[in-house]
Amino acid sequence: MGMPQGAIEIEHLSKEYPYGFLHLKKKKSLEDLTMRVEDGEVFGFLGPNGAGKSTTIKLLMRLIFPTAGTARILGKPIDDVSMHGSIGYLPEQPYFYDYLTAHEVLDYFARFHRLTANDRSARVAAMLKKVGLDTAKKIQLRKYSKGMLQRVGLAQAILHDPRVVVLDEPMSGLDPLGRREVRDIILELKREGRTVLFSTHVLSDAEMLCDRVGVIVGGKLRGIGAPGDLVDMKAQGMEILFELSGSAGSLPLLEKATRTGERYRVQLPETELYSTLDALKSAGARILSVAQIKPTLEEYFMHLVETDRAQASAVEVSGT
């Protein structure tokens, strides 16, 4: 028996874009990507802007065509359009027909799936409720905010009960409440046994939701695994937020603090925490919060990007 079939299987996928006069030069947007997303898992696709996340997703959705390589979703090659009945897709910064209402646009998309009129109408109503657009369903999309369009996008992606859901930056443009709702929806999809692949550059989203993540930088997959394995989550120091009024300017600590009104924020090694707290207490400061400083994905990316650049310049210098 061979390996069990993954929900999404990508093999040596590459994409080059021609550019320049006469399109003679080529820019590599994605290089030899091989990975798989298992059935029923939530997979986060991480990377800075322009890393190749959207390119990969667009290749999977057949919006663009690969220069090399293949991919399969639910065991079917990606150029088999019939497979699209089992997948849902939220494009990055989605935009829909602005002359339609949310209800009309969902009804329009639902018509491409083989649903009866009653089923269609019930699902559209349920989706509008799920994404919190029930009360705005009769307003034309031209009057919608970015966050509301994102919700419409999410609704159309899961409208037809897909087995695999691909979301390109699903949290972008949403307020904290909206982000939480999207997180809840992703977790619900996971509970229902669906496979979710979503791209993001926010580590906290990935940490909270993903079974596994893949990190892509400069068009290349740099790491794949559980979020905790990928980034060393050990605290790198402490951050104290405190209020200090009056003439307490003699504290040497204040020199390295960031001030906003009477509030100060200071970062220090964990070993200095208690002595600093004592000093602040003696000076009459009111401690508002003490938090661990953890490495952000941004820093992790910066590290990867810098490594990437260093390697590129090394190749240039050696002339190979």
Binding site: G85, F109, R111
Partner: protein, 258 residues
């Protein structure tokens, strides 16, 4: 078929909601003005003036809509990325294209029918009752509609591989060239070698011959149009549209969406 119908219905709805049919107000005003003016200044040629003005307006307004909306059909969806979510549904790209084509043809049919009704109304105000021969106007309107469908197909093809601006230029250019397609075939007295003449003749057969849809001269003077002419024009339009749309589908099926 169902997917094509769904896209077509939405395209029609878009055109209506984007107030495309507002051009009818302009047409109505033009016809009313013409009817009033003709009644005052022309004696005995009211019919000629009203019919030729009406048919010309139907044609020009239709061509403008066919070219500009025809080009926008696909380019707007690509530009605004409304196409992304749609193509992730079980919809083939050629189904989307055909849906767009039929949606705009449906819009043009409603628009042209309304303008034809306006033309008859204007005609009725200058002479009543209407005669049996006035029914020939409908034949002219039908042929204009066929011409518009060919233009939509061309605009759609160009918008599949070039920018909207160039697609409009190409569509308009082909339309103008197509008006002279028949002349290119019979060109005489020009100092050209036989190779160039053959090339010119070849190009003339590739171009859509828009004179195949022009019966205005006969209709304005109340003369009939032979049935065989109408059938041939219909067949010509259908074959030409089928070829153009096949080309558009081939190009669009490999197009990378940015």
């Amino acid at each position: 078929m169902r997917n094509i119908r769904t896209v077509a219905a939405n395209t029609f709805r878009e055109a209506v909601r984007d107030r495309v049919l507002y051009n009818l107000v302009f047409f109505a005003l033009l016809m009313m003005g013409a009817a009033i003016l003709v009644g005052q200044i022309s004696i005995g040629i009211e019919q000629d003036v009203i019919v030729s003005l009406g048919l010309t307006a139907i044609s020009v307004i239709g061509i403008l809509i066919a070219v500009f909306l025809g080009v926008a059909l696909v380019s707007k969806e690509m530009d605004k990325r409304t196409l992304y979510a749609l193509l992730a549904k079980p919809v083939k790209r050629w189904e989307f294209l055909l849906g767009k084509f039929f949606g705009l043809v449906m819009t043009l049919t409603v628009n042209t029918a309304a303008m034809a009704a306006g033309l008859y109304l204007a005609l009725w105000t200058v002479k009543h009752p209407l005669l049996k021969s006035d029914a020939y106007i409908l034949v002219a309107v039908y042929l204009i509609l066929l011409k518009l469908a060919v233009i939509v197909a061309l605009a759609l093809l160009f918008s599949c591989f070039t920018t909207p601006f160039l697609a409009i230029l190409f569509s308009a250019g082909i339309y103008v060239a197509g008006l002279f397609a028949a002349d290119l075939r019979t060109v005489k007295g020009v100092d050209l070698d036989s190779g160039s003449l053959r090339l010119m003749r070849g190009i003339s057969y590739l171009l859509p011959n828009f004179q195949n849809f022009n019966v205005m001269g006969a209709v304005v003077h109340g003369r009939g149009v032979p049935g065989v002419f109408v059938w041939q024009a219909t067949l010509y339009a259908l074959v030409y549209i089928a070829i153009i749309l096949t080309g558009a589908a081939v190009v669009f099926s490999r197009r990378n969406l940015k």
